[in-house]
């Protein structure tokens, strides 16, 4: 194995929310780990220096949910294509949900996915295991085996569990092994094959609506089950202000529960559905501006402590049909960081909080020693230029999925360097 380079990143604005750090200084890396922040340690000889003057240096981004499509849907994307795209967005760690084909419900599939990611060499890839065998919603998966194979959590992904008893047993069994249960809160009966938020816009456009209650009912139910079982649960991709308020209550009560939101929910609303552009077809659906504002508040107050991409790359055909017949989802890896920084520009929250939601926030939920620049930790680092504005062009995305609703949006910052374990995996200058 080659010796890992000593690197010094000089003169950048180093932001490490976990350590309450925000100042212009240097960062030194040795052996793939953070060696020091500030003065050059005695005897340290950098093999490489990166001039980060005028740039922001922060921990590499951890994306709590990105569908990479492999195995099973390689016509949409592959582990190699998406992990490469992720690095251009400053992402160093990705969690992939188990809704692949075959499903991530055995150590073999888990191992295969991790192997492919290591071979590609761009990102740390942490699989989420299926909570039930083949995601069938009724038979528990071999969670202990999944955990030892490297799954960081278990989840039902999009598929509903058969009933509340299975939900309870799944939480209990996962808790036995200290595994986090990730839940996409959706009552399948209330969502009833809908494709838009049940409200004025869907009423007028004749789109089948998904009521807010589809989410709030599931959140309330699973909070009750978590209290009964003592399990630690995480709600994935909240979409309503009401669910965010319930989360605020649960946190005040001291419940062991956390939540994330997909970045597009903090920018888009049901109004964007006008014109039936299928790039706005997402699940859970885009809701009202009140919901968007409620979610923004919850993120700002750390009630929702993670922003994720919920990346779902699609081939063009998947989106070329009448709106309800298209597949939901947005290709979001490359816009995750810039759209989060846009929230800072819009005074939703301060820069350190925004970076925390993308780094130490998700690391804490997963219980991983990542998402910070503390000496001794892996040198997963994102460097971006806060002055370099750019416009989103779907065709220019590195992801195989060109399905973005942010076509033509101005992004406030550009990632210039991404380092994984002290190795430069992306550099804007080189990739251009």
């Amino acid at each position: 194995m080659k010796k890992k380079k000593n690197i010094s990143i000089l003169g950048g604005r180093v932001i490490d929310p976990a350590n309450d750090l925000d100042r212009v200084t240097d960062l030194h890396i040795a052996g793939g780990k953070i060696l020091a922040v500030g003065e050059t340690p005695e005897g340290f000889q950098p093999d490489q220096t990166i001039d980060a003057t005028g740039q922001v240096v922060c921990p590499g981004i951890i994306d709590l949910c990105a569908h990479l499509r492999e195995p099973g849907a390689e016509h949409k994307a592959t582990i190699a294509s998406e992990t490469a795209a992720a690095t251009s967005g400053g992402i160093t760690t990705l969690c992939c949900p188990p809704d692949t084909l075959p499903v991530i419900d055995t150590p073999a599939v888990t191992g295969q996915i991790r192997h492919k990611a290591r071979k590609a060499g761009f990102c740390r890839l942490l699989p989420q295991g299926a909570v039930t065998h083949d995601l069938d919603g009724s038979r528990l998966s071999e969670m202990a085996a999944l955990k030892s194979a490297g799954c960081v959590a278990v989840t039902n992904a999009y598929t509903p569990l058969a009933n509340t008893l299975v939900q309870r047993r799944a939480m209990e069994y996962a808790a036995t092994f200290g595994l986090l249960t990730i839940i996409r809160p959706e009552d399948q009966y209330l969502s009833n094959h809908g494709c838009a938020h049940e409200g004025r816009v869907a009423d007028r456009m004749g789109l089948l609506g998904i009521p807010e209650a589809a989410e709030t009912v599931a959140v309330a139910r699973d909070l009750a089950l978590a209290e009964t079982t003592g399990a630690v649960i995480h709600f994935h991709t909240l979409s309503s202000a009401s669910a965010a308020r319930t989360m605020a209550w649960a946190k005040r009560e001291g419940r062991r529960v956390s939540a994330d939101v997909a970045i597009h929910q903090l920018h888009l609303t049901e109004m964007d559905l006008e014109g039936f552009d299928s790039n706005f077809h997402v699940r859970p659906p885009l809701r009202t501006d009140t919901d968007r504002d409620g979610l923004r508040d919850a993120v700002a107050n750390n009630v929702i402590q993670v922003i994720c991409s919920d990346h779902q790359p699609h081939e063009a055909d998947a989106k070329a049909a009448p709106f309800p017949d298209t597949e939901p989802g947005i290709s979001g890896l490359e816009t995750l960081l810039p759209l989060t920084l846009k929230l800072v520009e819009q005074d939703v929250m301060d820069l350190s909080s925004a970076i925390a939601r993308l780094t130490c926030g998700p690391a804490e939920i997963l219980g991983l020693p990542l998402g910070t620049l503390s000496p001794g930790r892996a040198a997963d680092i994102c460097i971006y230029d806060p002055e370099q504005r750019w416009f989103v062009e779907a065709d220019a995305l590195l992801s195989r999925g060109k399905n973005t609703p942010f076509q033509g949006w101005e992004m406030p910052a550009r990632v210039t360097h991404t380092l994984l374990k002290g190795r430069l995996v992306y550099s804007f200058a080189i990739n251009e």
């Binding site: 409200g199 004025r200 004749g206 789109l207 014109g275 552009d277 790039n279 049909a321 076509q407």
Partner: protein, 329 residues
């Protein structure tokens, strides 16, 4: 990609390029459609029931959902304009072989079709086709999912204008399954755009959108109150399959609460007319005496449907022709 309804349906001079929804068209355009249809009503009564306006044009009736009335009136309308008509019932052929909607469209365009009349079970299907159709090809929505059925709404407006002359001051009640009805959505838009004084919807809450008032209507759950003093009663068809879910308990209870009977009809204005887009479920939505009674204009709606569809087809083909001439110059 995402364009407003007005941008998609009208050219720079405000002429009709496609007819997809009432939304975004405005009173002037709706009135122009009604006036044009007025001119075509005579054609059906002549010995030679044809005018040469669309001679040499090919209109494809692209029906992904079955329909008798709408498809035949579109076919007749196109033929009376001297167009050639292709009738394609796609539900039975292409889609079952896995062909995508876009492939079906491309194949037909290769046959140099000038217009698509589209009916599809998915909301937004006509918009999708209009956005992907070649320049010079017009698209008319003959019903998409729960979204819109604009020619039905316009023939209803035509019927109302024939009987009431003016829209201003009218009170109109729409009764029945508003939630699932593309007809109701288009009617509500057209009635409000044409300036009636009040649109009411009458239905149990399970057949109404959660926020029905945002559509621009007054909501009634009591039939007697809902049709009191109205000038026009529009009864909607109740699909039989609605009885299977948890939307309604029985046809019997529905009819006893919302069925239109002679007794209830007496509560409306003495000059009131009764409309229904068809086909009627006698004894579910209304009594036979009402359906066949003197106030019923249901069969006139069907005849006017041809004139309205002639108007829309000729207007769209006319605009698309101009568009192609612009390209040629």
């Amino acid at each position: 990609m995402s364009r407003s309804n007005a941008e998609l349906q009208l050219d720079e001079a405000g002429r009709l390029l496609h007819f997809l929804t009432i939304d975004g068209l405005g009173r002037e355009m709706l009135t122009e459609i009604l006036d044009t249809a007025e001119g075509f009503t005579g054609v059906s009564e002549r010995t030679i029931k044809k005018v040469p306006l669309c001679r040499g044009k090919v209109v494809a009736n692209l029906f992904f959902e079955t329909s008798t009335r709408t498809r035949t009136t579109f076919e007749l309308a196109a033929k009376r304009l001297s167009a050639d008509v292709l009738n394609l019932n796609i539900s039975a052929s292409a889609t079952s072989k896995g062909e995508t909607l876009l492939d079906t469209l491309r194949n037909l365009e290769a046959m140099h079709v000038d217009m698509f009349v589209v009916r599809h079970a998915s909301t937004g299907a006509a918009h999708f086709i209009a956005q992907h159709a070649d320049r010079g090809v017009g698209v008319i929505n003959a019903g998409d999912g729960r979204h819109a059925h604009p020619t039905q709404a316009m023939l209803d407006m035509f019927t109302i204008r024939r009987h009431k002359r003016e829209f201003v001051g009218l009170r109109v009640a729409i009764v029945g399954d508003i939630l699932h009805s593309r007809v109701a959505r288009s009617q509500i838009l057209a009635l409000n755009s044409l300036g009636v004084s009040e649109v009411r919807v009458v239905a149990p809450r399970t057949l109404l959108p959660a926020d029905a008032r945002s559509l621009g209507v007054h909501v009634y759950h009591d039939m007697d109150e809902g049709i009191r003093d109205v000038d026009v009663i529009i009864m909607l068809r109740l699909q039989k399959e609605r009885m299977k879910g948890a939307l309604l308990p029985s046809e019997h209870e529905y009819f006893s609460l919302f069925g239109l009977t002679e007794r209830r009809l007496a509560l409306a204005d003495s000059e009131a007319i009764v409309m229904h887009p068809g086909p009627i479920n006698r004894g579910v939505e209304m009594d036979s005496q009402v359906a066949d009674g003197s106030k019923s204009v249901i069969l006139q709606q069907v005849s006017y449907g041809i004139a309205i569809r002639m108007a829309v087809i000729s207007m769209v083909i006319g605009t698309q022709n101009l568009r192609m001439q612009d390209v040629a110059v």
